[in-house]
Amino acid sequence: MDTVVTYSFDLESHLHQDSNLKTLKEVKLSTFGELIKLAENGDNLLIAIVNINDTEQNGWNLCRDIYEDINLNVPVLVVVDAKTGDLKPNSKLLQNAEYFDDFISGKSTGVEVEIRINKILKKFGKQISKTIISYGPIVINTDTYQVLCDNRPLDLAYMEYELLKFLVSKPGKVYSRQSLLSRVWGYEYYGGARTVDVHVRRLRAKLGQEHENLVQTVRSVGYRFGLSKY
């Protein structure tokens, strides 16, 4: 699965709401060894984002390790001090320049982070597969039909899967039962609009109490996926 690894950096909080990078799995690491393990596990490592406290050597060593491991082929994006974003006059950025592929200031906005990442990926010939849809705790791989909720696989029946896929790909929008029926269901079903209710309940049961509110009932209209901001 497409993975971004981060060191002392929270990618998700730096992305804007509709960012296509939100579909990526973000794994927060602290050592180089953990990165190797992930690679061995078969994760498709797209990029490593390393937050550097400019005066310390640890972060730079990490960048060097990733750069020098010829099997990894993982580009490195350096974030210069996520707290202050200050580039100090005695910065080691220049002397370590060969160990990273690009850098951003810790003060960078979401748009900049996204553009830099996409540019690096393009340069490395890496593509974000279009088969992952995610929202909050839910990650759907439409290629393998697998659904994770809080990294736990969900055992869905086919129509439950189809309904969830539809809803997750269009968060925040309200759909009537009739429109869900015509968009998600084919012709072979015995129920009518209430079949949608049945499947929503089944989905909620499988999402568990913690996440059942992701599928919200909009009274006398239909359903909406995603957490309400109000």
Partner: protein
């Protein structure tokens, strides 16, 4: 390949499922099945699996013993427990003849046929059952209760309550939402109420739920039994079921401007169900033991009647909250938990539709409590009784063109033959009751 089939194949691969159970149901409602490996799955989904139908109750016709199981990929579901450390999934199947044509003895087919014609008329039929059952200690000779709890009791940390909770979690993991689960009236008796679905999904679900209830109990060395009346002086296990008819978002049973909040169509429907109730009792209550539940005094119906707040009636109309017309429905209270749900739902739906077609007139509401009546008063004479034993139920069914039409030749004939045999075996049996009562005195 259809996308639901691809979904099944990829899920089996991704999740490391080792066995896929193919489930189907015989004519008496007994769950049947066998397992295949992932290697056979693709072929099974496209061409079906051949099996020998001659040993399945209700399928046997010696000259055509090879039959085909066609998995319904939409029902594919990973089971919430492992078998020998391997993930196992199930898929519900339709039974077909060897040439791929539908097999008329398949109960799921009987229900689907009924639903197809209902759908053509623009109706959708929804069912919500209340499944009652007992937990007993693992002793096949006599029913020994696990607890002495009663209705709604909050019994503390007893095994049965723990089991019921675990069962509800397993059902929800399977995508079977549970409306309520509670201790029932009798000791060791429990009830799990399921949320409505369309009828064929619900029949599949009931088969699944019964299996989960039994399996989880067995894991604890406990027997879960759907026997209709295991304890003579306690209530039996019914499967009161709530039915409603919709057209899209509109509940066809509801009309707030009419008496009882019931539409004219609902009244015709219920009249139809009451009209044919005698003829379908052999199916809703298909065992000799079923009729020991249908006796006065235990909240089980004995007469053909309907009421709003009278639990002794055959049909109850729960009072829907004002403005909640979605909830308007009727409850049929004769059915027991040991029925074949496919056949029962097909018959009740068809009876209701006949009621609509012939604009049958709904009898007046029964307002008296039929149980509290002293048997010497004539209240029972004014209402028509349900069959009170299997023999009488068989006779009522045998003369029913209606049941014959709904079930089809194969199921109708086989079912009657099987039930007559059961009654004959029972009639010949000399019971403990007779030995205890007659041996010393006669």
């Amino acid at each position: 390949m259809k996308s639901e089939e691809e979904y099944v194949l990829k899920t089996v691969k991704e999740r490391g499922v080792r066995f896929i159970q193919l489930w189907f149901t015989d004519v008496l409602g007994t769950p049947k099945g066998f397992s295949i490996t992932p290697a056979e799955l693709e072929n099974a989904l496209s061409d079906g699996m051949i099996f020998d139908g001659s040993s399945i109750d209700g399928f046997s016709r010696i000259q055509e013993s090879d039959m085909l199981l066609m998995p319904d990929a939409n029902t594919f579901q990973i089971l919430p427990w492992m078998i020998e450390n391997a993930s196992v999934a199930r898929v519900v199947c339709d039974v077909k003849n060897n040439d791929g044509s539908p097999f008329e003895g398949c109960p799921r087919r009987v229900l689907k046929r009924t639903l197809d014609s209902t759908k053509k008329r623009g109706y959708e039929f929804y069912v919500a059952p209340e499944i009652e059952f007992f937990y007993f200690k693992d002793d096949l000779n006599k029913p020994v209760c696990l607890d002495n709890g009663s209705y709604f009791d909050l019994t503390v940390s007893d095994l049965a309550t723990e089991l019921r909770k675990r069962t509800v979690v397993a059902l929800e993991d399977m995508g079977i939402p549970v409306e309520h689960a509670q201790h029932e009236d009798a000791p060791s008796q429990h009830e799990i109420d399921l949320r409505y679905t369309d009828a064929v999904t619900m029949a599949d679900t009931i088969m699944t739920a019964r299996l989960i209830i039994k399996s989880l109990a067995l894991q604890q060395g406990v027997i879960a039994s759907f026997m209709p009346k295991p304890l003579e002086s306690e209530q039996g296990s019914g499967m009161h079921s709530h039915f409603s008819l919709f057209k899209g978002d509109v509940n066809c049973f509801a009309d707030e401007n009419q008496e009882y909040g019931l539409s004219t169509l609902a009244k015709h429907f219920i009249a139809g169900v009451l009209n044919y109730s005698k003829e379908i009792t052999a199916v809703t209550n298909q065992w000799v033991n079923s009729y020991k539940r249908l006796v006065p005094g235990y909240e089980a119906p004995v007469n053909i009647s309907w009421a709003r707040n009278n639990r002794s009636a055959l049909v109850r109309i729960p009072v829907a909250k004002l403005g909640n017309s979605e909830a308007t429905r009727f409850e049929y209270r004769a059915i027991d938990s040991a029925c074949n749900p496919y056949l029962v739902f097909a018959l009740i739906l068809s009876a209701g539709l006949k009621g609509i077609d012939h604009k049958m007139e709904l009898m007046p509401e029964t307002s008296v409590n039929l149980y509290s009546q002293n048997s010497e008063t004539n209240v029972y004479e004014t209402v028509d009784p349900l069959p009170n034993n299997l023999k009488s139920a068989i006779e009522n069914m045998e003369n029913s063109d209606f049941a014959h039409e709904v079930l089809g030749d194969h199921v109708f004939e086989w079912f009657l033959k099987n039930k007559k045999q059961e009654w004959e075996r029972y009639a010949r049996h000399v019971t403990d009751y007779e030995i205890g009562r007659y041996l010393p005195y006669l």
